[in-house]
Amino acid sequence: MSRVVLVGGLGGVADLGFLALALGRFHEVVLADPRDRLAELTDADTILVGYSLGATVAAVHAAGHDVAALVLVSGWLDPTPGLVHWTEHAADPDFAARTLLSPAGWAAARESAPAARRSAPHHGNAASAVHRGNPNPGRPHHGNAREPALDPKLVALAARTGVGDAALGIRAPALVVGASLDTVAPLEQTRLLAAAVPDARYTELPTGHAALSERPAQVHAVVDAFLRAPQRHPAGAEVAAWRP
């Protein structure tokens, strides 16, 4: 049973519930916030998974520390004007909700949630919520995309932080997961991230930026397939997502 550290994005650990539950059956799962000190949570046998800003944090960490495998979901290589624009307006929940999800994901989220809940502030994703062992993550998804409780400092961090040249220092086998309808982290940036990490393969899912809200089971599926045999596909490979 290996340890998996999941690093969330601007929504903190609340984004990670489904993935934590699914991976928690066979792994020790630790949830981390982008502000947590990963050096205290990981060692060379750790599987490190980052989402959004958490992908940046995870990649930068992996450039300086050995980990067993690295998964970067909805990440970017360098901040772009589009990302900066998003962070400038992210405090507006309507804007955030519309732009985080694909049109189909937005429609599904509206259908499944009572209107009253949409404007309720999201809370409970405490700044340094780290659960060790098999977590019991509660009701993790859909809520975040609609109701981001955004820490302005984190938002500012996201707007100015990229992996950049650090990507070259990552030695672990990596999977980069992009989202074809991502308007927050433009697809080109996710693909550049995949191209910059030496031993990375790339998979694309048909979601907006909030892949963990829209297709949590499919994110788990691509992560699970990668972890079964990280180097089954060679570096640089584009791995088509399996379809039923």
Binding site: R25, A104, R139, A217, Q218, A221, A225, R243
Partner: protein, 481 residues
């Protein structure tokens, strides 16, 4: 290999239901294939179940093979007849290979000749490989009720519906409260003079988000890419439901709340609502979808008897609670024999039958390959069922495994250590899940051992990945131990 009897095939498939027809389509591209079917028609489960209201609880575009998609579905949850029409269109692709009215009587592996010697109701034949596609919901289970033979009126099982019996104006007893009962009750109560339903345990029932596809939707579905995307969306949405089975308390509670709110919104009578409230954890048994069952059982001429049937004396059917009801027609919606499949005693290798091999419960490596039974492929067998997503995804993964292994030279055989490891993995995955701890009796579990033998205790995508791994592994290490 030279034919050693009058009829030899590279691959003999037993059963022309979903699995057998799909296997025939996929395997006949590279092999001489024959399909034997004991009944007079193809379709398996969907041929047998013609009771009023029969339909599938999985969205139709997803309840079909990726290699045979249909733009013709008229609604999300297709009626049985529509699925049977789909299966006929599948059968049409392999029609010359199908031999109807031909039952399997026995199959013995001839280790010397390296082939299966098969006895059928139409004579003997041989095959290099045997594919068992006999289904798991094929043998109706009718409880042994004392006095049943004294019942003067029509008696039938839901999977053998007698369309010649007029229910309108009759007093009807329906035994059972599972998927079939819940689907057939609304039609039965419609014309009947009175209906009594015997229920051992109440099912959890969710709203059924069905809708008729609009003309625009159906035209869109004619575009294969659009249909593919729809399947993809449906599949991954269904996969999320598995989280309710693996101990996420918040999701389990939310699912239970949804079901009980559905009950409360449809049944106002507090006493009836109490009878319809399950007393076990949600997900332990199959969760049903219906918008018209609760209203049906609430009708004034309908009685819900919270009891098994204990005895029959003439026209009087009496529950274990001692309450008797005089009825004209007796309908058993009591499910199927699942844990001990009727084909198992017929298939033998090395002096041992599958039934003997499975005396501790069904087991197979990759849910498909049985140790000691060379060139045998069991579809839809041990731990290949699914509660939360499409069973057809599972069957297709097994067919794909079979196809890849048959493409290699040599006899395909796994040793006991592989089967043991797979079985241990199943037991590990099912420990602590709602199926083994949820406090219910379900057809997923083998009563002899308490082991989960019918259901795959994981995500569907994990089954697909595990079978892919198994194929890669066997093709690397060699298919013969």
């Amino acid at each position: 290999m030279a034919p050693v009897s009058s009829r030899h095939d590279e691959v003999l498939i037993v059963g022309a239901g979903f699995a057998g027809l799909g296997a025939a389509v996929r395997l006949s591209a590279d092999h001489d294939v024959a399909v034997i079917e004991r009944a007079h028609d193809v379709g398996g489960t969907w041929r047998d179940n013609t009771y009023p209201g029969v339909a599938c609880d999985i969205p139709a575009p997803l309840y079909s093979f990726s290699f045979h998609q249909s733009p013709a579905w008229t609604r999300v949850f297709a009626a049985g007849a529509e699925i049977q029409a789909y299966l006929r269109s599948l059968a049409a692709r392999v029609a010359p290979l199908i031999e109807l009215d031909t039952a399997l009587l026995g199959a013995d592996w001839d280790a010397t000749a390296g082939l299966w010697r098969v006895e059928t109701s139409r004579g003997e034949r041989t095959a290099d490989a045997l594919v068992l596609a006999c289904g798991r919901l094929a043998e109706p289970a009718i409880p042994r009720v004392p006095g049943l033979e004294t019942f003067p009126g029509p008696i039938f099982h839901s999977a053998r519906w007698d369309h010649g019996v007029e229910l309108a104006g009759s007093r009807v007893a329906v035994v059972g409260s599972g998927a079939s009962a819940v689907q057939l009750m609304p039609s039965v109560v419609e014309g009947a003079a009175s209906v009594v339903q015997f229920q051992r345990s109440a099912p959890y029932i969710m709203p059924r988000p069905d809708h008729v596809f609009s003309d625009a939707e159906r035209r869109l579905h004619a575009d294969p890419a659009a249909l593919d995307e729809l399947r993809d969306r449906m599949f991954w949405a269904a996969e999320e439901g598995f989280a309710e089975r693996i101990g996420d308390e918040a999701r389990v509670a939310a699912a239970r709340d949804r079901a009980l709110a559905h009950l409360a919104s449809q049944v106002t009578d507090a006493a009836l609502r109490a009878l319809l409230t399950p007393d076990y954890a949600i997900g332990c048994k199959r969760v049903l979808l219906s918008d018209d069952y609760y209203p049906a059982v609430s009708r004034p001429h309908v009685t819900l008897e919270p009891s098994a049937v204990a005895s029959v004396d003439g026209a009087v059917v009496t529950g274990a609670n001692g309450v008797g009801h005089e009825v004209d027609v007796l309908v058993f919606a009591t499910g199927f024999r699942t844990a001990e499949q009727p084909y198992a005693p017929l298939v033998r290798a090395g002096g041992r039958s599958l039934a003997e091999h499975w005396s501790g419960g069904m087991r197979a490596y990759a849910s498909t390959l049985v140790a000691g039974f060379p060139n045998l492929f069991v579809l839809d067998g041990p731990n290949a069922g699914l509660g939360h997503n499409s069973a057809i995804t599972m069957i297709e993964a097994q067919i794909e495994l079979t196809r890849r292994l048959l493409a290699t030279a040599g006899v395909v055989e796994v040793d006991a250590s592989r089967e043991d490891a797979w079985t241990a993995e199943i037991d590990h995955r099912s420990a602590g899940t709602v199926w083994t701890t949820g406090g219910c009796e379900s057809w997923y579990v083998d009563r002899r051992t308490g082991r989960l033998t019918l259901l795959w205790p994981g995500f569907a995508h994990e089954f697909v990945a595990a079978l892919d791994d198994a194929a890669c592994d066997l093709l690397t290490t060699g298919v013969t131990p």
